[in-house]
Symmetry: C2
Subunit: 159 residues, 2 copies
């Protein structure tokens, strides 16, 4: 199963390049346990997914994802009432990697982040962020999606 190795950066706004692929994402958390396990529902571009993430490490986490039918998603969605967020994801090719740029909406409007996933820890450490990336927030709790969903946008940009 996938072991996620990724780094995350703040962006000072984002103008999608022409023809950029935009995916509307709505996600909510059924549970966030004291040991850092997240149980998440996500609707992305008309697909529905139940995901479980374990691990509190900053760079590498394990994740299991199960596709749901729309009816299953709608049955479970009310269980996420206290922890939801809405964003649009743009997939942006970089020189040596691909960035997932998230433009948040509703109560998180104004927040933009870029996540880059890597095949190895070495590749993650070697990565040189492009100039339009802002401060790195890899592993920073206030910028985790689960924190954004439950506590809203941090008062100050950066760490």
């Amino acid at each position: 199963m996938p072991l996620e190795i990724e780094r995350k950066f703040l962006l000072d706004g984002f103008t999608p390049p022409p023809g950029a692929h935009a995916q509307p994402i709505e996600q909510g958390y059924i549970a966030i346990t004291p040991d850092g396990t997240e149980v998440r529902l996500r609707s992305i571009d008309g697909a529905y997914v139940l995901g479980v993430k374990r691990g509190t490490g900053s760079l590498a986490r394990t994740e299991v994802e199960c596709p749901l039918s729309r009816a299953e998603f709608e049955e479970l969605w009310p269980a996420t009432a206290a922890a939801r967020l809405v964003k649009t994801r743009y997939t942006v090719p970089l020189d040596t990697a691909v960035a997932s740029v998230d433009v948040y909406a509703e109560s998180l409007a104004g927040l933009c982040t870029a996540e880059v996933e890597f095949p190895s820890l070495e590749a993650a450490e070697r990565f040189a962020p492009p100039s339009w990336f802002g401060p790195e927030v890899t592993g920073a709790k206030p910028y985790k999606n689960r924190t954004l969903a439950t506590e809203g946008r941090p008062p100050q940009p950066g760490l």
Copy 2:
């Protein structure tokens, strides 16, 4: 998706009929949320399942189940450390329904229950339990699997 309509009874012990199908079950809870949602991992007879149950009603609950690979199950299993149970399930045909008899093991040894699932609330209400069924515990919190997994066997049989 399945809407579970079931009734549950205590048994004063259980001797499996010859040739009864026995399924070893190991299950653990990743999360049990304040609104009654359960996120459960189950290994049953060599199959691995992630399940989410919503609803705190006694008779009817909604449930979503996703098959996992063994590797996925083993990755997530540590997240259930605080809430696990082990039992053997026997499938026993009755006159008008089928009972799932659970014989609990390890710290719950000595506990036996029978659950019967119904196609409708009417069928559930019409059901006449056979004489070898003990007190009904449908909806009784001490006999829910999640309670048994976290708090152990209730001190007294019955409600």
